[in-house]
Symmetry: none
Subunit: 239 residues, 2 copies
DNA sequence: TTGATACTCCCCCGATATGGGGAGGGAACA
DNA sequence: TGTTCCCTCCCCATATCGGGGGAGTATCAA
């Protein structure tokens, strides 16, 4: 049983943490406090830079990365489309790749029950805070119902800390797009060709190119598709 | 003073709510419970469709919309770049437009103290949950420190409800992509050219084209950029 | 067994996008 | 009053994309 004062104390301590080691030991403490097998916090993004901490065996974490499992992991895919925390049982495990992934995970010591909190930050940052355990459905349901709100808050504070540590990675984030650039990106994102976009905006195609290049530069993108992708995931345009 | 059991009760009730009126009356209750002048929940969206409820005078809400104040509102701008809730005093009010906005707001009965929780959902959804009051800095600081976590949670549950009501805006079912198609879309989304993607996946460029075309077909996309944009906004890939 | 779905490979060619330049006017901000 | 950013327009060469063909493997499920 976890009392609210305990949760408060944990959050206070989390707020004080100023090293990555502090987060790692915090998550171990949390796991013990809630009497679960595993607790994990990690960033999700297709680029290489991962950040996370938790109690999964390192072999599994490595294997996950090597296999690029986030591409097929139903937890990642499912949470990315949701706002509320979700029990793993409610996710879509029907695909072949998903079932293979699950078998693999359990071979590495991942438990049969899971509960994950999706967390979103500025600039399209996305992270997962997950609790994992081996037990019956009934026990798990009782556990998650009781601690759901604690877990939301703890995930939130965890993410706050992680953002503070990783502040160096998003230095020129405030780069916003000009109205015309937003127009251009938006129309490209809905499938218009350059000629169509230029026509829609009633400007020459040459002018349009300037906007696209400018947006590409601001977004640090390598090409138009990349720029549109970044604009969407940073929430600069809505499609 | 607000006890945790009260917060729990509120959250429970919030979860039960099934009408917009339910949210409106909930927010009035919350305002009274926390003894503040105003409490507001609203979506922030560059497009036209607003959604929100709260206790600001309707004149102010209308005026805000008419003046397109979200473009200059330091609360919106500041929260959009932050993850943690923020006291209005810590925002940047230095611009001329911001000061004019503030004067206008206070003329409409908006209090001098504010505390806003940024909330992010899938597909770039962004909302604000705000508490507003008139009092001294010391009182306000005590109030926000005491209830910060409650407000994060309440904001979260409010948003969850709002998303449920607005579920109609995301009707299209996600036609899932094959692992290879996900690979292709993901690599394209991070700026790789067709040749680079093919090389990275160790397949011929011709094969890659088959995947891209297949994904484009499944996503109903007109070109590669469109396909990537759809894959991202439907949560099929993570960038 | 048959059918469906993924995954892999190959040809040609025209349409389109990209990247490298340069240049001028206007609004806003300090 | 100058600097900075935004909007607008232009040329050219080449890399990339998109559309049209066709064909073989493997796995899984009906």
């Amino acid at each position: 049983m976890v009392t609210h004062s305990k949760v408060e104390a944990i959050l206070e301590e989390l707020e004080q943490a100023d090293t990555l080691d502090g987060l790692q030991s915090a998550i171990v403490m949390l796991r013990d406090l809630y009497h679960v097998d595993h607790m994990i916090y990690h960033w999700v993004d297709s680029a290489g830079d991962h950040y996370g901490c938790g109690t999964y065996p390192i072999e599994w974490a490595q294997h996950y990365t090597e296999q690029n499992y986030q591409r097929v992991d139903p937890v990642v895919i499912g949470c990315y489309q949701r706002f509320h925390p979700v029990d793993w049982k409610r996710l879509d495990w029907s695909s072949k790749a998903a079932r293979a992934f699950l078998v693999d995970a359990m071979n590495f010591g991942v438990g049969n029950q899971g509960f994950s909190v999706p967390i979103r930050g500025p600039n399209g940052q996305f992270a997962l805070f997950t609790v994992n355990h081996t037990c019956s459905d009934e026990e798990w349901s009782a556990l998650t119902n009781e601690h759901r709100r604690d877990l939301i808050l703890i995930g939130h504070y965890f993410n706050q800390k992680a953002l503070e540590f990783e502040t160096d990675r998003a230095p020129e984030q405030a780069q916003s797009l000009s109205p015309r650039e937003v127009d251009a990106m938006t129309l490209l994102a809905i499938g218009y060709s350059r000629a169509q976009v230029a026509n829609t905006l009633s400007i020459s195609e040459h002018t349009l190119r300037v906007y696209i290049e400018s947006a590409r530069f601001k977004l640090g993108a390598l090409n138009t598709t990349h720029a549109v992708a970044r604009a969407i995931s940073r929430g600069l345009i809505v499609v």
